[in-house]
Point group: C2
Chain length 321, copies 2
């Protein structure tokens, strides 16, 4: 008997990432298709069905060898029933994702939030290294996250768990956040937040590399600021220290209550690597219970864009058992 | 066939609480025995075994009708194996609680941390009202807690999860905590912490009811401060507002990441009831994501000292299935 495979799918606003993955989490083949958002995203699922059927033929894998399909999508999801309440980016509203895809492929299909599945991917095959207790934080345009406790994704009562970006971090005088509050972690630790802190800093104190970059480009990016800090620019260093202070604070408080084995930091900002980890660690150790500080690993994500499809495959494997 | 029963046990430093509980979580009978801490607590388990055998005879319940035993203990526990690494209050060290009690009663026995089981008790039959996502916080001498997510106790990687009392809350200039950090929630929201805040307040501003109580007794208790605040004493009000501000902050940040249906507040300080809840709610709403603020219930614990034995019975029921 041939080995069974899993299909992992990560539906994004621009592309749908897909992969055939074996039961050990190794990618057999991966590819992507554009996300067709026309007519409220009604063609997305038929496109996914068709590309899987084609790829199975191409790879000479029989449909009967597919054990399960896992699929990650953005937005607010009923994971039990695979229903997307709303995914604004895709145009889906009360969209029966599980049911629609099962009606095409006739393979058991399971749905979860894309950030949760990226966390699971890192838990299974990435920086989480198989640990059953992992907190993942993604530092991109916003700050997202996923929590795995006891080997299970934590969803919370209405699927809102893992909103690490909205941990109140700047207690007084914080910047406004899209969520309606002020001082959320996202306002200081996302790429956008770091850029904002950098531009505020350079406006009040126009010196060094940041001043040059700002005058040259009229804008600063998170990347500019980290690069300058790594080169030893003191204004950039102070911005990065502020940002990582709050990130360490928020992650320490999560760890004081969740006691993860590993915290995985992903997203564009995580490209700063060990420089970032060392600064986060400094603040983390200040705010975490000493035993927790000692025992918790802080690592950079290793799977990049593959985390979502690998996590989706895990979901398919786990829930079809 | 007679209905099966569960035995719930809550081992404390002064007394061991026990109950026979039916599978719906209703107490059939409850009683307690003193905790015999002599000789490193070696008699505690034999005392428990003997009192259960006696009570079964008294209640005319056959041993074969006992489905499972659940037992909560303080300290640092390997819940898989029912091993107590260390329970300083009882004198136990590397104590095989599950094995010892099973060798006396020959009934499947399951062990967890007492604070976790109190949380489970409130989840099952108390203020948690059957919800699968509950955060319990106990405001006593310290601040303890338990987290239930997806109907499961969250233990974390090394059993340290739920250390709500050590959430960093007073970010700068906080008081020292027993854990080695400063500014932990416990330093401001435990009964001890509230008393400390009250005494500091009355020392720098000796007025009103707190001044009278302080001069009369040489000390202030958390109860004195809440009573005075409820009577409208402005110094006491400011102390209670400070304390509940930090509690609301910590609980909001937990809720931003865990999205519980209900937060249950127990322990001695919770006797302040709706006065306490209203103040915590005010701060909670400031720091929680608006949707989370709207959807999360904050309630006072209803089971009092019975929470531990009821939670222990739930553990026995769940793990023996």
């Amino acid at each position: 008997m041939e080995k069974k495979i899993l299909v992992g799918i990560d539906v994004g606003g621009t592309t749908v990432k897909l992969a055939f993955i074996d039961e050990d989490g190794e990618i057999i083949t991966k590819w992507e298709i554009p996300t067709n958002k026309s007519e409220s995203g009604r063609y997305i699922v038929t496109d996914i069905g068709a590309t899987i059927v084609n790829k199975l033929e191409e790879e000479k894998i029989s449909m009967s060898n597919v054990k399960a399909v896992g699929i990650g999508a953005p937005g607010f999801i009923d994971v039990e029933n695979g229903l997307i309440f709303e995914a604004v980016n895709l145009g889906w509203k009360n969209f029966e994702l599980k049911k629609e895809l099962e009606s095409i492929l006739h393979i058991p299909t399971f749905v979860d939030n894309d950030a949760n599945l990226a966390a699971v991917g890192e838990m299974w095959k990435g920086a989480g290294n198989g640990s059953k207790n992992v907190v993942c934080v993604t530092l991109g345009t916003g700050v997202g996250g996923g929590i795995i406790a006891g080997g299970e994704i934590i969803h919370g009562e209405s699927g809102m768990a893992g909103e690490i970006g909205h941990i109140a971090s700047v207690v007084e005088g914080g910047a406004p956040c899209n969520c309606g509050k002020t001082g959320c972690l996202e306002t200081v630790s996302s790429a956008t937040g770091i850029a904002r802190l950098g531009m505020e800093a350079v406006e009040s104190n126009p010196t060094g590399i940041l001043k040059e970059k700002w005058e040259a480009n009229g804008v600063l990016t998170s990347r500019d600021i980290f690069d300058a800090a790594i080169e030893g620019d003191s204004l950039a260093e102070s911005v990065v220290e502020t940002s990582t202070y709050y990130l360490g604070f928020a992650l320490a408080n999560m760890s004081n209550t969740l006691n993860p084995e590993t915290i995985v930091i992903g997203g564009g900002v995580s490209k700063a690597g060990s420089y970032l980890v060392d600064l986060v660690r400094k603040s983390f150790n200040q705010f975490a219970i000493p035993k927790v500080a000692k025992e918790t690993n802080i690592r950079i994500a290793t799977l990049g864009n593959d985390a979502g499809v690998i996590g989706a495959a895990w979901l398919g494997k786990q829930r079809s058992q």
